[in-house]
Amino acid sequence: MDFDLTEEQQLFADTSRRFLADECDLDVVRSLAETGAGFPGAWWRRAAALGWLSLLVDEDAGGLGLGSEGVLYLGIVAEEMGRMVSPGPLLPCSVVAATLSRSGTGEQRSTTLPPLLAGEETACWCFAEGGRSWSADAVTMEAERVAGGYRLRGEKSPVEAAAGARHLLVTVRCNGQLTQFLVPADAAGVSIEPLEGLDLVRPFARVRFDEVEVGEASLVGAEGAAAEDVERQIQMGLAVCCAESAGAVARVFEFTLEWAFERYSFGRPLASYQALKHRFADMKTYLEGCHATTSAALHAIAGGAGDSALLARVAKAFIGDFAPGIIQDCVQMHGGIGVTWDHDIHLYLRRVATNRVMLGTPREHRAGIADLMAL
């Protein structure tokens, strides 16, 4: 969390935190994990009522009309959700909503958006094609022009929150150029196969497009002109991932610090052992780094800064390298109890380890950074 939130932002953060504590604490998360229920629809609608899904959407499309500042609010929600290892498809729904608001047809804005923003329906973003392809350059799935529309053939995986989604935003190529379609999940030829996942409440799936025919009205933006939207979606996704991981690490650090003060060994609190103190110092330093780089990325995106592409990737690379390690160190501080199912810390570790990989590992982002810097 930034130290210099505006009053509005602080209020929004407080409301979000209270809402999660009241309606989706870790007991709820655990019971969702046990039952495989995904997330409670009623809860998601109440989250939507707080505006969580309308942050990036223009007023005339039913959103809050926060403009570019909206992403800062989105970062706040993501961080709070990270603190509670929350379920719910915040990232995919936000990405789809933002792009529809910006580049969707009138029909898409007036028909698809409202239930999405109200939390009554969900959407997902079909982008990666197997592991290690979280860059626009790696998109190879083609949409072929046919009479009255397009025919889609290919496979996208992993796709967050595909099962249960009403709409799929699919990034493909038409004649080699990036193009996006909004495809109904029940279109003929679409099949969704759930994957097993490390995160217990965040589902991923493989989505197959087997000669899926869609009309021209399914285009989001013009044919071959989606590159800018895709890059915005990537940056948004990276920022959400980072904010969520930063929130998760911050929360773990908090309760581990408490534990160190309360737990006695050899008649002394753990917090009095220099070797542990020094590890806490390292953790605190890199935790501040996680917050700082997330904030810098969010502000660059909000400000439309020219270096937002770079800064979003810097943040993801840094947090991917450091966040999981901080949580592992916190596990170590807990001792044996930290590797039991009943302790909450593994829920955080699963979330952060998943975020490390999704939308690209640190190494993959460093390759992207080297490209962006023309090294």
Partner: protein, 410 residues
């Protein structure tokens, strides 16, 4: 004595004729994935070894062993790699508890239990750690009060692997609360499955169920089941910890097979790389080779430390070096596994993958916690190998009942 080479030939031939050969793509044995049914299988295999004279090679003959030097066990272990072995008996039964009883038990205890372990009749576990205890093993608050006839135990133990399907346990409890911490402990042995003991299985963070927690409710243990002297249990515990460090560090002469992958075996990671289609990526090859280097040097270091202890160039506590090396290598191995597996570590198709890289990563710190945390190993190395000053402790010289400690945790 039979020459080492003759022994090797005889062992090789016998193994080929008598033990099931593992398929070449068998998963390495994983101590974290033991199912209750595995115990009976292990008992049978151990019995097979025993009947042929290949069990307990380094234990004295009078207690059911063969009285051979450690090289013979090393040779047998090496030869046994391709076969299914009773690895479940290694730790803690044969490598930790048996040698502790050998060092500290009464003649009666040794004659009664050592042969039974070696011939596969008794699987043992340790009741050492407690939910409220942490790294301070001597800080146990399980109480053992003498009622004139028996010691009556109340309290709880945790992290005892396999307790639910084992037979006996060795258990540290407090018999004197007015003494300073280390002086009021006594080591007991007990049958696990009896009234007064409740065993619950604990689910690990990676989803597997392996560890156990036990609760003692007025459990009566007769005085002849004390190991060592009453109130001198810490001396016994220290022997036990010494053997535990040897076992987890890989230098115990009492293991009758290796409890993990062959040290240079990185086949599982290679398979992971192939599944991810990345076996030709120079980055991945670099990581695979790094694991090979670390595991090779870990094994070489174990040999060196064993030789150093034998030559008295290193103190017996130097086993902690191996525990630390093993622990840190384990972390690196897990980190490399998730880097190789990439998305397969966090979202996988259940038909083609088991997501093990990710699950193992969630359980990663167990490498640095089991068998004594790496922090404790570092204390031992700095204080007892390098002779540096001990950490100040707030519990020295005062009755244990007055020491600030954690509340019991259920």
């Amino acid at each position: 004595m039979e020459s080492l080479e003759a022994f090797r030939q005889r062992a090789r031939a016998w193994l080929a004729d008598n033990l099931p050969r593992l398929p070449p793509d068998a998963e390495p044995w994983n101590a974290m994935r033991v199912a209750p049914g595995d115990a009976d299988r292990a008992r049978t295999l151990q019995k097979t070894l025993f009947d042929a004279g290949f069990a307990g090679l380094c234990f004295p003959e009078e207690y059911g062993g063969r009285g051979l030097p450690r090289e013979y066990q090393a040779v047998f272990t090496e030869e046994s790699r391709p076969y299914e072995m009773p690895l479940l008996f290694n730790t803690p039964t044969l490598t930790i508890i048996a040698p502790t009883i050998l060092d500290m038990g009464t003649e009666e205890q040794k004659r009664r239990h050592l042969p039974a372990m070696i011939r596969g009749d008794e699987l043992w576990v340790q009741f050492m750690s407690e939910p409220s205890g942490g790294s301070d093993l001597a800080g146990v608050i399980t109480s053992a009060a003498f009622d004139g006839a028996n010691y009556v135990l109340n309290g709880s133990k945790i992290w005892s692997s396999y307790a639910s399907f084992s037979d006996y346990a060795i258990c540290l409890a407090r018999t004197d609360w007015d003494a300073v911490k280390h002086r009021g402990l006594t080591m007991f042995m007990m049958k696990i499955h009896q009234p007064g003991i409740t065993v619950n299985r604990i689910r690990q963070s990676d989803g597997n169920v392996e560890f156990c927690q036990e609760f003692f409710d007025d459990l009566a243990v007769p005085p002849e089941h004390v190991i060592g002297k009453v109130n001198d249990g810490w001396t016994v515990a220290q022997r036990l910890l010494f053997h535990e460090r040897s076992a987890t560090g890989g230098s115990s002469p009492y293991a009758s097979g290796t409890a993990g992958r062959r040290r240079e075996d990185i086949d599982d990671l290679v398979r992971l790389a192939r599944a991810a289609g990345r076996a030709d990526d120079p980055h991945i090859r670099d990581l695979l080779a790094e694991v090979h280097v670390l595991q090779t040097v870990q094994g070489q270091t174990a040999e060196r430390v064993v030789a150093g202890i034998a030559a008295e160039a290193l103190p017996a506590t130097a086993g902690a070096l191996l525990r630390l090396f093993t622990g840190l290598n384990g972390l690196r191995r897990n980190d490399i596994a998730i880097e190789i597996a990439n998305t397969d570590a966090v979202a996988w198709d259940a038909r083609t993958s088991d997501g093990d890289a990710g699950k193992a990563y969630v359980f990663r710190q167990a490498w640095c916690l089991g068998g004594g945390s790496t922090e404790m190993q570092r204390n031992i190395i700095s204080e007892r190998v390098l002779g540096m000053p001990r950490e100040p402790a707030a519990d020295r010289g005062i009755p244990f009942k007055d020491v600030r400690r954690n509340a019991p945790i259920k």
